[in-house]
């Protein structure tokens, strides 16, 4: 997708006035938050599982090179072909090469955020290969030519009516008089259209939620079963996974899956957790003849071993965005990157550059709700603050902000000057505002008073009043 994060403010403004979007966003709050709260309350060990999940990933990241090698060895032994890609470009070239060798015309795709990150769809289409998204939400946004607005619910920004309009626009081979007023008929239509695509595809491509070093296994997690049809029917299966997806053992994956589904959709377990190891075996009546895994770095090693290290624990559950007041207000598209919400605001500057994405770490109130629900206990506000520090160090912050802060910080370090200046400033303001108790407009405070009144300051500061008393 095209990165539009530099235009975040305009994007957000548009989102706030988009009535369809605002209506659709209500479902995020109602849908995800309550369901999660319910399953979490029903599992007394949930917080202890979060600790265990965090520890598993910490251990793995500390030994990442060795687990990647172990994974590769086991996957190869099972007949898989492992490819390594340093950049998105490398991964695209590898995937195209596999598709060409397979003579692929269409490729079905399971939902994969990494594939969004490396923009594989446009690239394949440019090279004459038709990519077909098969996750219902992904399919819908592909029809619309939009990027996902949520990492696990890509079409959460749309209403049913919008989906109906898109289906009528694209599925012109179907009876124009058909009834699509119910969600069930929309689902049935997508199922029918995509069933043919599944059966006709030459290559199936999925992401991976996890790679298991012990057995060389890739794991996908879906509720629809689309990922499974994607990988079991075509002759070639390609898995694209970033380096931090590897975990040591099947036991470790089990712990992570216990927190993933609950955090993501509020299910005790996702419907389909599929563990794939190598291609079709002798005697197998089905399954792909080739099984490729593309392991991608694309900026992750730049987060490893430094202040952003914790972010590499992320298992892409989406809980942070589901609980984010900023996400609730504007949805995902305003972020202008494939990864959205708090996790996106930490990842995007690393993957696409701070110059591109500097807005995102700033657009947070640091309310901390994301961290409080993150199953991997990633300190998201702290990581966002680290990006602000980088921005400040590099002088990317707007001059007015730097200058204002600098003056203020100087006063704050010099109590006597501070007292004097605050006394002068608020003395006047307090006197002006005394009658009404507040201001409706005030020069230099437009950001505040555009939307709310500003309480008038006291005509005498607390500290001064205390001093008067003591004297």
């Amino acid at each position: 997708m095209r990165i539009t994060a530099p235009a975040f403010k305009e994007n957000a403004q548009n989102a706030l006035t988009d009535l369809h979007l605002q209506r659709a966003l209500e479902h995020v709050e109602a849908g995800f938050i309550h369901k999660r709260a319910k399953v979490v309350a029903a599992l007394p060990e949930f917080d202890a599982l979060r600790d265990a999940a965090r520890d598993i990933k910490n251990h793995t990241l500390e030994h990442l090179d060795l687990y990647l090698e172990a994974y590769e060895k086991a996957a190869t032994k099972a007949g898989g072909q492992v490819h390594w890609a340093e950049t998105g470009g490398d991964a695209r070239a590898i995937i195209l090469d596999i598709c060409r060798k397979a003579g692929a015309k269409t490729i079905t795709k399971g939902k994969s955020m990494v594939s969004e990150e490396i923009n594989i769809n446009d690239f394949l289409a440019e090279n004459g290969i038709e990519p077909v998204e098969t996750d219902l939400g992904e399919y819908i946004i592909q029809l619309r030519g939009e990027p996902p607005s949520h990492i696990i619910a890509p079409a959460v920004h749309l209403t049913k009516d919008q989906v109906e309009a898109d289906f009528r626009r694209v599925h012109t081979h179907l009876d124009a008089a058909r009834d699509l007023s119910e969600s069930t008929s929309l689902l049935a239509e997508a199922r029918g259209v995509l069933r043919d695509k599944f059966l006709a595809a030459d290559v199936g491509m999925t992401g991976a939620n996890f790679l298991v070093a012990e057995t060389g296994t890739s794991v996908i997690v879906t509720n629809e079963g689309n990922g499974d049809l994607t990988q079991v029917l075509p002759r070639v299966h390609i898995v694209i996974a970033s380096i931090e997806k590897v975990v040591p053992t099947l036991e470790d994956v089990s712990t992570l899956l216990r927190v993933l589904a609950r955090s993501a959709t509020g299910q005790d377990m996702t419907v389909y957790n599929t563990f794939s190891t190598g291609p079709r075996r002798p005697g197998d009546p089905d399954g792909p003849e080739e099984y490729h895994v593309v392991i991608l770095d694309n900026g992750r090693t730049a987060m490893l071993g430094n202040e952003f290290h914790d972010m590499l624990r992320c298992i892409r559950c989406g809980a942070c965005m589901n609980h984010c007041p900023v996400y609730h207000a504007i949805g995902g598209h305003a972020y202008g990157t494939p990864y959205v919400g708090p996790m996106g605001a930490v990842l995007a500057p690393a993957l696409f550059g701070l110059d591109e994405a500097a807005n995102l770490p700033n657009a947070s109130t640091f309310c901390g709700r994301c961290e409080s629900v993150c199953p991997m206990r990633i300190p998201l506000p702290k990581l966002l603050r680290h990006w602000r520090e980088k921005e400040f160090e590099r002088g990317l912050a707007p001059a007015t902000q730097r200058w204002g802060l600098g003056v203020w910080a100087y006063f704050a370090q010099h109590p006597r000057l501070y007292r004097l200046s605050t006394r002068l400033a608020i003395g006047a303001l307090g006197w002006l505002g005394k009658k009404k108790g507040r201001f409706r407009a005030l020069p230099l405070a437009g950001g505040w008073t555009r939307h709310r009144d500003l309480p008038a300051p006291s005509s005498r500061t607390f500290i001064d009043q205390i001093r008067d008393r003591e004297q």
Binding site: H63, Y67, T159, L194, A213, E214, V232, V271, G283, P285
Partner: protein
């Protein structure tokens, strides 16, 4: 330099390691050689009938149907009855699983059985599960000619037979069993955990069953009553 060396080199530089440190290697080798189960929720530690009951309860909570039968001899009739009650044709597709082949199908002469993988047009598939997991009502199936993976996903209705004795409390126990059957570090090509029928909430967060996989999942549990 190959992509492999580049990526691994970057990982090692970031971690300030060479990859040859004996201590790190030993830690990794040990963890992979002797996988240790993590925290198992209490609900995954039930025994006997209580465990099977929890499995059934959790499966039903995610919209799977559950039929309990006393012995494997009752399975064909249970399948026929389920199809009748749901107005489905008396026709099933199944793999070459010996346990399924050995059932007394003569009791249900009107039930047509087809074998081999699904071509996408079958209405009902029947599989035998390797096991179940009580803590979430999850079925564990694996690929092979006995129970082709396509059968888990293509038919509209999926009927899965599981023996109560094969229902474990937790996932970890099933992994141990897979290691015993297939050998350490070896996995079947595909292992499917299935928890309820296929679903999607992609349109306005409304839950709908039967997205791409089966709209209905019927589990037949053999034995296990107290």
């Amino acid at each position: 330099m190959s992509g492999r060396e580049t990526v691994l080199g970057k990982v090692r530089r970031a971690l300030a390691v060479s990859g040859a440190e004996a201590e790190r290697k030993a830690a990794v080798d040990e963890r992979l050689a002797n996988p240790v189960a993590g925290l198992i929720p209490e609900r995954g530690q039930l025994e006997g009938a209580a465990r099977v009951d929890l499995f059934c309860k959790m499966a039903e909570a995610v919209q799977a149907g559950v039929t309990r039968v006393a012995s494997s001899d009752d399975v064909p009739e249970a399948i026929a009855k389920f199809l009748r009650q749901n107005n489905l044709p008396a026709e099933i597709r199944l793999g070459a699983d010996d346990r399924l082949a050995g059932l007394p199908w003569e009791k249900t002469p009107n039930l047509t059985r087809k074998s081999g993988p699904s071509d996408g047009r079958d209405l009902t598939g029947v599989s035998h599960a390797l096991g179940g997991v009580a803590e979430t009502g999850t079925l564990v199936l694996h690929s092979g000619s006995d129970n082709p993976t396509t059968l888990n996903f293509l038919p509209d209705t999926h009927i899965v037979v599981v023996a109560a004795d094969d229902i474990a409390g937790d996932y970890e126990t099933v992994w141990q069993r897979i290691r015993t059957i297939f050998g350490k570090g070896v996995m079947p090509r595909t292992v499917n955990w299935v928890t309820g029928p296929s679903r999607s909430a992609d349109i306005e967060q409304t839950l709908l069953l039967g997205a791409h996989g089966p709209r209905a999942l019927q589990i037949i549990v053999i034995g296990g009553t107290a």
